[in-house]
Assembly symmetry: C2
Amino acid sequence: MNIDLEERMSRMELTGSPVDHGYYMPAEWTPHSRCWIGWPERPDNWRDNAVHAQRVFTRVAAAISRFEPVTVCASSAQWKNARSHLPEHIRVVEISMNDSWLRDTGPTFVIRNSLSDKEKLGRSKVAGIDWNFNAYGGEDGGAYEDFSLDLLIAHKVLEIENAPRFPQSMILEGGSIHVDGEGTCLTTEECLLNKNRNPGFPKVQIEDELKAYLGVKKVIWLPHGLFGDDDTNGHIDNMCCFVRPGVVLLSWTDDKLDPQYKRSLEALSVLTSEVDAKGRKFDIIKLHVPGPLYLTEHEANGLQQGDAKPRIPGTRLAASYVNFYIANGAIITPQFGDKKRDDEAAHVLSLAFPDYEIVRIEDAREIVLGGGNIHCITQQQPASP
Amino acid sequence: MNIDLEERMSRMELTGSPVDHGYYMPAEWTPHSRCWIGWPERPDNWRDNAVHAQRVFTRVAAAISRFEPVTVCASSAQWKNARSHLPEHIRVVEISMNDSWLRDTGPTFVIRNSLSDKEKLGRSKVAGIDWNFNAYGGEDGGAYEDFSLDLLIAHKVLEIENAPRFPQSMILEGGSIHVDGEGTCLTTEECLLNKNRNPGFPKVQIEDELKAYLGVKKVIWLPHGLFGDDDTNGHIDNMCCFVRPGVVLLSWTDDKLDPQYKRSLEALSVLTSEVDAKGRKFDIIKLHVPGPLYLTEHEANGLQQGDAKPRIPGTRLAASYVNFYIANGAIITPQFGDKKRDDEAAHVLSLAFPDYEIVRIEDAREIVLGGGNIHCITQQQPASP
């Protein structure tokens, strides 16, 4: 008997780009086989030894697991603790990490509908991009100093799944891109053109890499992300996302004195003047931000000192309702304890996604305290077409 | 859309024993879907920071991977190193461990041919037993003091594979049992009745647990394992194993002055007088041990001090040719640099397994130095029937 050829081939690192092999990144609403989530641990970013964050991550994982299989990745030190908190039907695997943002450190999954001519280089219909990573800026404003474990997460996930891997030397976090699955990518200049990511790369080269790796034809650049989202340098997934091709949700505020106003208006102007890869004008749905919310002294006091950037009481929190996760048949959305805005957001989402169940996660503030939200802690693995 | 019910159900811890659910442990020659191997690391058991052992483990993994998929488990600290040494088509997952004997710390996989009436408790045809473990004796002669990570290995493997898990509070290492898949279990009194394993358990209770968990009808007890196999207190897998139902290979020596002689003779006497679960008399094939081999001063000097039992130069090594692995279509067997015995063993094995390729692993002495051999470092996962 011989080894299963499919497995042997799938283990290979693929040369060339995903597009060379017929792969592209599907939209988040394309059916998933699984959702990947990390497990918060570091006490310099998650207050009170991460107990509150772990409670909310557990709630998110449990909510998503009603709609699709979920795997939570936890370090060796935390595996037993994670296993004991999470519902039994959620898979818990050991993957060590510096921090727990699987959106940014996990693989970006790509799919193909048929096998390419280069079938011999891998027969899987699902593969993953393993981007380079420098903890959101490296020495120039990065969120934490040591990201050596984060650099291995995507590779480890792909090994577990026996999925081919496309290594990419360009630094990119998954939270800085959104695609519509029909050729359009949304991103921000604030992040992707930041000199702390890929300083030698001109805009056109970054676009070329996105086209070759995500299979998109057009990149739409918003100038900035959300006000206060300094950790990520303005990831798109806190600012604007697709509902379906041609329709976007945009973080918004009616308060002209809020520094967010200028950013939202600027984005609105770009989106109004642009068309997508298929030539469609955008239908833009505004989603009002909560608050504004600020880090309290009590919250800041729960943090230990480490190699993470210190958090100062009174800092504006990067809270936004567009940072939701699209599960199979459900929208898993953050709630911030701002009753009026929470209800309003749930209502807007229910109109935008009429065929989806809207699942509201209370206390998502705990995730914002660490620098992101539900979309940032999740990574969808598309089902094999 | 709802979560895949099969996955949700497979994640459950099953109550009752494997036999209650129609499972049994198949013989090692039953087709495998995968082989699990650990990655040696601890410098107090693997000389020169485990570099030699890692080289030989890599050779074993590569040899097996010619016949079936292989997954190697490595700690967070070693994952990158393991990944760089192992061939690309071998899967490497992060699983931390105190030592690298997947035979003893991994799950014992069981299968069932049809779904039971209790289908609602799990629909998988492959499940795993998660035995209790105390590092070969705990405070009473255990091989190392801290085995907290080893206790989690089986559970972690089963999570990765989405296989139902049967936890067992009885202490048992997989290397202390062999089954023929037709109702017979081989083991040793030296190990299973040792007071450092399950002191409150009379022999009959241990037999009952083996029957309920492995699906065997009869347990055959050899008095002792191999001479010098003090680390494991005489595991059966260094002493005697099945070739097929009714046929066994027995570690042997012609040297009446070798302390091994008495042990082999004793075992021969038991095997000659016994019949298996189906009433068959045994056909017994003798397999002469190499050497005798002894730990050299140079080898001992390569060990660092830790919480592992110290190794004394001049100690007899527990080297035996029965400690091979049956892969899909191949026998992966240790070679010790004893030309005459190595050739003889390969010849005996080729006669015993005429339909298998005999793959000889040179330098297996490096594994013996750590206390086991090829069978001890591997764990087969049977294919779903």
